[in-house]
Structure formats: C-alpha cells, structure tokens
Symmetry: C2
Subunit: 190 residues, 2 copies
Amino acid sequence: MYGRIAPGEALTLRGIGKEFDVSMTPAREAVRRLVAEGALFLSNSGRVSTPELTSERLEELAALRALLEVELASRALPRAHMALIDRLTAINGNVADAVSRRDAVGYIQSNLEFHRTLYLRAQAPAMLAMAETVWLQLGPTMRALYGRLRKTEPPHYHRLIIAALRAGDEPGLRLAVRSDVTQGLRLLAR
Amino acid sequence: MYGRIAPGEALTLRGIGKEFDVSMTPAREAVRRLVAEGALFLSNSGRVSTPELTSERLEELAALRALLEVELASRALPRAHMALIDRLTAINGNVADAVSRRDAVGYIQSNLEFHRTLYLRAQAPAMLAMAETVWLQLGPTMRALYGRLRKTEPPHYHRLIIAALRAGDEPGLRLAVRSDVTQGLRLLAR
DNA sequence: ATTGCGGAAATGTGATCACATTTGATCAAT
DNA sequence: ATTGATCAAATGTGATCACATTTCCGCAAT
C-alpha cells in the first residue's frame, strides 16, 4: 500500500516465511488474502508478484478512488468538527515534510493517512475498506509514479479539502477530493 | 453470492474439506479469500460464518452498489448494441420465471446475471470485481430479504434499464439502475 | 426452571513433508 | 554470438500432525 515494493516484484512463500520467522502456512494465507484483494498478482503457475498495472487499469482504479472517496468525504463533512480539521492540518504538515525530503514512501503513507483520517468520520466501514483495497492495488505503482515527479510540490488540493471542510462547502469538498485523487494519475496516463 | 447459505450460518474447515473432498489446507485458503472479500465473517476465535448484516451495513452496501453499478452501466451504454439488449431481455425472462416459481436462489442468480451481462460491456474489470465483492457480501442477506417479499412482482426496473439502453438515454439508465439496486433494500431497511 | 461447572468433542493454527511443476542457469551445437 | 537442450534448484500444493482454544452438552446445585 505504501509503495515499499516495486511493481512486478516477485515474492515467494518460503521467502516471506523466513522474513517474518514463520512457516509457509501463514505466509500462504497472507498472500492468498492479498491476492483476493488485488494487492498481489498470481501468475498461472502460482507465483506471486506485485501487479504491474496497465494504463487502462490505472484509469479504472483512479475512477474508483474518485467515486468512493468523494462519497466518503461527503458523508464525513457533517461530522467534521474543529478537532478533526486540526488533525488533518497536522498530517498535512507531515505530507509536506515528506515531499521536501523526497521520501516517496513517507509521502504516500502520510497522504493516505490524511485521507483515512477524514474518511473515518464518515462512519462507513465497508466503503472505507473498499477504498483501502484500491489503495492497496495502487501502492507499488504510486511509488513508481512518484519517481517521475520532478517538482517538490506541496499538497495543494489538501488545502482546498481543508478549506471546504471549514466552510461546510459540500460541492467544493467533492471537487477538491476528486481533483486530489485523480491528479496523480494524470501524470502517469500520458 | 446467490443466497444458498443463510446469514449467520457457521462453516468449518474440516466440513468444507469433506464436502469438496479435499484436506483442510485448500478449504482454509478458500475461506481466507472469502473473508478478505467480506463474504465470510471471521470471529475472534477464528470461527467462520456468513455475515449477519446490520441495517447500517446494509445501507452502506446498497450505496456502494448504487455508486459502482451506475458507473458501470454508464460505461456500458455506448457499447450496448442490439445483441446485448436481446440477451438482457432473455435473461430477464429467467428472472420473471424464478419469481413466479418463488425460487429465491434462482431469482438472485438470474438477477445478478442480468447485471453482470450489462456491466461486462463496460470493459472495467476492477470495477466489476468490486461490484461482485458487494454482491458476495449481500448474498446471504438478500436471500433472507426475498423471504419477506409477499408479492411475486416482475422485474419492473429491469424493463426501464432495457428501455433506456435502447433509447441511448444515459440519465434514464443511471436512474433506473440506481432504483433497481436500492429497491430491494428499502423493504429491509424498515 | 435456571444457573454454573466440568469435561469431552470439535476446531483453528502453524509446522512439516512428499511430490509435481516451474524456473533458471549451464553447456553444447550451430 | 545465438539458440536449444538438459538438469539441478526453487517453488507451490495438498495432506497430515500435534497442540492450544473454544464450544457445547450433560449434570448437578440452588
């Protein structure tokens, strides 16, 4: 999810088991779960690797993020009080730090923490779980995408999201979330 | 997915293994996958059962269906030619048959086949997979819901969907799909 | 009749094993 | 230098086992 593994990287059950000091059995179960969620790709011969997403698949996953996260933000809006907005602002500072440090994993992690913190307020666990499933599928590719970013831009749309929350502006919030979520993809789609 | 298992019904690894003539290992992997997809519930002690959905969870899953399936239908619309519409009409006949036979499983199965056939045209596999994940979570409960239906109603909204496809009417299609998908829930929400 | 308790049966977990398949490297032939 | 074949190493699969927990039933006490 956080892009620690590159797209297409292969994993083995015995390797995972050794890494976490368990036998093949728990490693197999974890892998099976991640395959079910689309986070790992299972080849015809049973080998597992992180997925290498086609641009069509990327477009789809971005559309899913937009659909799900706009709805989650909408549902969170009426419950978003000052404490939440303060917390989001603080997390946003971590995002900016990670960007200035050019720390890809840290950027992805704090960026997703920003979104998750907001969406938790929506009180919609099934919906949030689906959004996280999408994040899981995008993880390795997002990291690769970040490498292509030249400029160290601060999280512009996050500011818009926070402003819309403050103002109780639902249309503005929906637009800001949609923009934030599809922004990164535009760079890769080309 | 098709409501063959009642909500809250318990499953055991050894039981599944015996049923399909395999050992515990493949049964465990299948169960793990289904748990990851939310189709099965894993208790704190590791026992598995089909989920018993709260009404809040039901509302969420219905909202997810609406979000995902309206988008899928929209994407399928420009690619929906006469052959597809004919096929949908035929499947719709099966739905009506199942309703008149009061065959709950047959109804759910052919109903979902109707939707899947349409959405396959959207060429959006990740999105379709998410929709099917939701269906999987709703399966047992949908069956229980069907039991509460007194009247043997023909699939009204399916006709609207087909009409909108014929007319190339996107707003109409979106509304019809949304109505069809949330219709059943309204009965249970009360 | 209800509650509490004891113990046997059932269940999930993690480990290990044998086996079939796949992978990948080495070496020979062209 | 490139291709093809060969073979050893690596890998996933399904089965089985021992063990710790949990579940559940029956019985007794109140």
